[in-house]
Structures are given as C-alpha cells and as structure tokens.
Amino acid sequence: MGHTDGPPQSVRPAGADSAPVLPSPVLSVRTLTKRFPGVVANDGISLDFHAGETHVLLGENGAGKSTLIGMLAGMLRPDAGEILVQGSPVRILTPRQSLDLGIGTVFQHMLLVPSLSVIENLMLGGPWWQRLARGAAYRRFAELSECLGISLDPDLPVGHLSLGQQQQVEILRALWRDTRVLILDEPTSMLTPQGVRDLSAVLCRLCSQGVAIVLVTHKLAEAYDLGDRVSVLRQGRLVGGIAADEHRGMTEAQMTDQVIAMMFDPAHAPMADERAILLGRGNVHAPSVRRGAAPCLEVRNISTMPRTAAHGLQGVSFDLRPGEVLGIAGVDGNGQKQLAEVIAGQRAPSSGTVLVGGKDVTQGDVAARRNAGIRYVTDDRLGEGTVGSLSVAINLLLKNVGAEPFWHRGIADWARIRQAARDDIQRHDIRTRSEQTLLAKLSGGNIQKVLLARELGKAEGDVKVIVFSKPTHGLDLHNAQLAHRRIRESAAAGRGIVLLSTDLDELLTLSDRIGVLFQGRLVGIVDNGPGAGAAIGRLMTGAVAA
C-alpha cells in the first residue's frame, strides 16, 4: 500500500499553507446536474473548494446536498457538468476513482463492517489476491491517530465501538490515503455534545494541515460554528453563499437572516418555530407540567434482554402526566428503540411493569395497548411503520386489520375501507394519486403523514399516550414543522407525549422534561430550562446525574 510511504505527522504532503488569499481550488464542480425520476436533484451547480478551508453546504433535507457529494464520492454519476481536481477535469465513475483522486468521504450512515476490527475496516480495499499488510497498516494507523489526536484500539471489532468512535474510524478511513478533500455528510447527527466538540477539534487540525473540508449540514448553527465559507442549496440549485471573509465578520443572527433569505421566498418566510428547527439551536421551551394530575403512563423498573449491537434496558422508571412532553435524549443504540417498543407492546420486558391511567397493561399486546390508549409513531417509517408493497388504504389500517367496522367476521368491506382512507387522505393532506396507490410511491413526508394519520387520527378508544420516535428525522422543513405542530397539539389536548430523539435541539424545543438514556439506563431526568442542554450533554456521556 503506497500511502504508508507518506511523510509522517501529516495527512498530505506539505505545501498548501492555508493562505487567506484565494489559491486555486483543490476541487471544483462546474454546472453539475443530476436527474432522478421525477426530480432534478442537482441543477447546474458550480462550486469551488479550497485547501485549508471548511466549506459548509447548507440546505434542508431534499435540497440536493447528498446527491452532490454522492457524485463527488463516485456513488452517483452526473448527467451533465464536470468535476475538476486542481484545475483539470476528471471523471469519477466509481468510489475507487474518487479515493484515488484524494477525495475521502464520511457518509451520513456509517459504512463500516461491524464484524471486522478497526484496522481491518481501514485495510478494506486492497488487491484481493494479496496477504493483508498488517504491519504497514498499524504504522499508518498510529501516524494518523496521533496527527488527529484520536485514541482507539485498532483490534476492537467496530460493532463494539460507540457511534462517535465509529465516526472517528470513518474519518481515519477517509484520510487513509493522501487525502486532499474530506467530505462529511451530516457528521453531527449522531453525536453527543462532547462528540461534536471532539469532531470540531479534529476538523480544525485537518484544516490547519491544508485539507479542504466539505461539511454537509441542515443546521444553520453548525454552519456558523464550524464553517469558513457557506453555500446554500435549495431544490437542487445553488441559491447563494457567504464568502470566507464575509463569514468571519458576521454575528450568528446576521448570518441566519441572510441564509434564510436565500433559502426561502419572502412570501414563504419561515415562522418562528420553523426558524428554530432551521437554526438547530433549541429555543428552550418553558415547561408547563401539571404536577398535580395523576400520571397517564407509569413505567416501573423495566428491563429487557440485550439484543445484538444494542443495549437492553436496565431498570428504567418514569411517570408521564397528561399534557406533558417527556423527551428522551441519548445517542442512538442506547435503548431508545427498546423503550418505545416496550411501551407500545411490541417487546415483552424481562421484568417491570407498564401502567396506563393506573391500569397494568404489561401483559397486553399491541392491540391491547392501543385499546388502552397508547399510540406509537415509529422512526423506521418504511421498514416497520408501513408496507411499501400494499396500498395507502391498507397502510392506514395496518394496526386494525380484521377489526370492525372495516371487516365483518374477518371478511373485508372494501368500500368502507376505501372511504375511510379517502377521508384520512383529505384530512391529513396526504399527497397521493388515490387511496389504492402503493405506499412505496409516496414521498417521505407523505409517508410520515400516513403514520401520523394512523396513530393520531380519530382512532378507536381514548388516546392517552403517544410515543414519537425521531419524528422529524429525514424530513424537509415543512414536514418537520408539521410533526412538531402535531406533537404540541397532542400535548395541548391533554395527551402524554414520550418524545425519543437524538436531536438535542428538538428535545429542548418541545419537551417539558428531558430524560437521558445511556447504555440502557435512564441516567437522569432534567427539567427543561436554562442550562438544561449542558446538563443533558453531561448525562449523555454517562456522567451520573447531579
């Protein structure tokens, strides 16, 4: 492996001092265009990326950021336009070519093999007929780790690492060869506040060594904190940017105003709550808990068996009162899924009890929990929440199959099922050709609307508790804000809300109290208010509640 001959202590050969005066760009794209069936994901985008600079690509979900980096990484092929590396045009048809050109990418979803060790993941990609060059790999690992200030055990299976550590492995891999450009797609989405601080330290070091960093995010605050230069994408087009010198002299509020002006027509300027989502720095929500009311949900000492790669719950207990939003923070994989499933009745706890309105429902299955007044809006909308190969109408009734009045003695009443679906489609503004359309044809936002319609609609019984799991994950601003509004409305209507989210800002914006799950334990519950964010950040790394 040739890169082991590279100079020590440096990610790439020296010579690109981060000069403030514009040097020629390391990487450029010119009128890059990519079409998908029905949409132009990237429409004539031209951008320059400079050495020693962090260039933030900003835009809502669906603005075309991921498509752009997909083309740079060799995962997608452009339909038109060109990519230039140090001024000369190149063709990037495969990930290998991208790597060979010195472009390293850290994708939003971890692309590591959990069953292989750290060092094996880093070695992945060599010629198949050769023996593994372990010695050289360990040397390169030591060199890069020192240079980035990272300490990891190279022989640990990646599946045993925390998500923050896995991301460090991804960054190591992206830098493994002589990398000139490091692309990171939404790198903070799964990190603890401490993890974000570590990441920005690493990025600073890389910048000072002359690497060009491309940072993709949909949060304005991150663009302000981490970026030197900002470009804003909207519906596949480049709609503006903030140059490096301009950026240095701005306050956060100034930048926010300017960027929002680029992202939206004046006519559709976002409202205050939308701005909060955009900024990603939570407006701290004033708690409004009715302490006196009897709890609508009591979770008592719940434990579950650990499953592969996820922590089991250990003695989780909390109360939830009507009208209260209880946020549950924590990095993914610390037991959130298990907690949601135990409350919804999808998973039997190994010990403990769940009470709804004072009634023990621990033994009840999903249907019994629904009748008791529990609803669960899952985050795995396509994999678990819906069946793509069935119609919208069926998906709206997925949790009521066989129930009156849509089925009589097990026989379907299709006319009634369709009518009910048409009503829901109208009431919840679900954009679909008809109720017979296969669900897989709907957009992500509309699939979320189907879920919300099913779980929050006028369904059977009295709704007491709603569990939301990552309700805005992957949605555009409009749909994210819609989900937030539904959560607020439900709370205002006197329902207890359990809001599981990895997005701390979202929790701070919506919750009355926030609990933190760490390795399957509820390590603390914090009343929302000034200073709550910092306290939660400490708890997320496993510090014991003060």
């Binding site: 299955d365 999903v366 629904r370 994999g383 069946v387 997925l398 199959v401 066989g402 089925w407 379907a412």
Partner: protein
C-alpha cells in the same frame, strides 16, 4: 408489455430453448411438441388423464400459494405428500371394511391433511422461534419424510400378498366416484373448490391480509401487533395440509395403494406454476392445465418418441428462469419509462 405477454413469453422462450435441446439430442422438436399436445389435450383419453392429474397439482399449488404469500418457503412438499399418501393408503382399505365409503374417504382426507401438517411443524417452529431458514429445514424434513414413507411401507404396511413392497390396495369401487361415466374422479372438483376458497381467503379476508403483511415485511407485522410466529406456524401447517390433501386425492382417486420408492416429486415442479400465476389462485388453474397436459403428453412421448419424462423437469426449470428474467426486463423498462 401487458400481463398476457409477461406470462406467455417465459413459456414460449422455455419451449424454444427446449426445442434447441431436442435438436441437439437429434429429435424433431415439432414432432415432439405436436405429439405431446395430441396426447395431452386433443385425445379424449389423454384429456381425461390431464384433468385427473390436475387435481393433486392444483391442491399443491393452493398449498404453495398460501405459503409464498406469507413469505414462507415451504419446499418440503415431497416429504409431506408421500407421508400423507402412505398413511392414506394404509388406512383406506382398513377403514372401508368397517364404515361407509363416503365416510372413509372424508376421514382419510382429514388424516392426510393432519399428517402432512404435523410434518411441517418442526421447520415452522424453528423459523418462528429462532428465524432459521425454512428452505433448508423443510427440505431436510422432506428427505426424512420420503425415507420414512418407504420405511412405513416396508416394515408396517406391506401387503403380505404382494412380492414388491406395497400397501394394501383400495378396491376400485371404493375409490373417489367418477364424474358422469368418465374416468375423471371428483377430486378435480374438490381441488377447484379449494383453490377458489384459498383465493378468496387470501384476497378478501383479514387472515389473508395478515399473511400478506407478514410476507411483505415481518418487521411491519410485528409493529402492527400481528403474531408473526403463530401466523408462520399456521401458514406452514395449512400449506403442508393442502399438500397432504393432494396426496390423499391422488391415492383415493387414482392409485389405491402406495408402492415403496414411489415418489412423483411434484413439490418443486409446481413452484414455477405458482410464480407464473403470480400467486393468484384463479390464474394458477390455467397454468396447471397446461403443465398437466405437458406431463401426460410427455409420459406418452417418452414411450413413443424416446424423450424421457425428465425433459419436463428441464422445461419447468427454464420456465422459472425465463419468468424471473422477463419480470426483471419489464421492471427495468418501466423504470426507464417512469424516468
């Protein structure tokens, strides 16, 4: 491409590829196919045999449709079929001596259903409880069942009056009644009723929809509160039971006994038919007729033209492969058009 073509094209391509093989083997494909058609459909005797053969094939198809719709790969049909056949053949001649014929026939069918269903329980349980691939386990149980059926014939039900090991024979008068003086027994009517019932079950009832949800996405099924494990076991049992019923109909209607080492091996052969019909119970009737005539004609052709019956196996393999290929090409074409 419309649906008709998507279905006919794989069949035509398979027949064409088969013709190439025949030419390679020095046989005239037109003569072969012509003879098969003539013997399988266009002669009264052949047509009766074709329709008679349809009965077990349709019931097996019903069993496979139930399983495949629920995403359960029950490939252990042969073992389930043979065990049910042996038990039927052993019971029927004994029962008919102590009770009326109609009752004997019904009881035999019920028991055949139950025996085959029991034989599917272990793979069903392993899949439901531990997620172990049911293809492998049902195949293992199939081999086990085939051998066990032989052991039963040789050690327990050997008719002492015969030299080759076989069960006692049910007298022709005691078998399933014929339809209007033809040689076709009423098993075909039963099979048609069952396949239509299965079709209605899968398309009109909550139970069918639940199976479909489990088949399409076990995760979504769990989320919706369906009892995935229980549904898997019920599906497996129903699927195997219908295959057992097919065996009972074949024994009670046609053979009257089971000889050791007899194995028609229908289980895998019906798989292509079910996929051609896209798991639709009504459509499968037509394909079963086609395939049944191919089998009957092929059996005559083996004697007359000297192309062994195994050619039908090859044809069915080709049909299935071409079906998958045509589906793929059609899917790609639609994607391009949609872009």
């Amino acid at each position: 491409m419309n649906t008709t073509w998507r279905v006919l094209l794989p069949i035509l391509l398979a027949l064409l590829a088969g013709a190439v093989v025949l030419i390679f083997l020095g046989k005239d494909p037109l003569a072969y196919y012509g003879y098969v058609m003539e013997r399988g459909i266009f002669s009264w005797g052949g047509l009766q045999e074709t329709i008679t053969r349809m009965a077990p094939l349709l019931l097996i198809a019903a069993g496979l449709i139930v399983a495949f719709r629920a995403g359960v790969w029950n490939l252990g049909g042969d073992g389930q079929y043979l065990l049910a056949a042996v038990v039927t053949a052993a019971l029927a001649p004994a029962l008919v001596e102590v009770m009326p014929r109609a009752l004997t026939l019904v009881i035999c069918m019920v028991i055949a259903f139950v025996v085959a269903a029991i034989w599917s329980l272990l793979p069903a349980f392993l899949r439901a409880r531990y997620g172990i691939n049911e293809i492998v386990t049902s195949l293992m149980m199939s081999f086990l069942g085939i051998s066990l059926a032989n052991v039963l014939v040789k050690l327990f039900f050997w008719d002492p009056t015969t030299t080759v090991p076989q069960t006692r024979t049910l007298a022709i008068a005691d078998r399933l009644p014929r339809i209007f003086g033809s040689n076709i027994h009423i098993g075909i009517l039963l099979a048609l009723v069952v396949i239509i019932l299965v079709h209605l079950l899968m398309t009109r009832t909550a139970f069918g929809l639940k199976l479909q949800i489990v088949g399409a996405s076990p995760k979504a099924a769990r989320h919706a509160g369906l009892k995935v494990g229980a549904l898997t076991v019920v599906t497996f049992a129903l699927s195997a039971g219908l295959i057992g019923l097919a065996a009972a109909v074949e024994i009670l209607g046609v053979w009257g006994n089971v000889r050791a080492d007899w194995n028609p091996a229908y289980g895998m052969l019906v798989v292509p038919l079910v996929f051609l019909a896209r798991l639709n119970g009504l459509a499968v009737i037509g394909f079963t007729f086609f395939f049944s005539s191919l089998m009957i004609g092929g059996e005559s052709a083996a004697r007359r033209i000297g192309v062994p019956q195994d050619f039908v196996l090859l044809l069915m393999g080709l049909v299935l492969a071409f079906l998958a290929l045509v589906e793929y090409l059609d899917h790609r074409r639609r994607q391009r058009l949609g872009a």
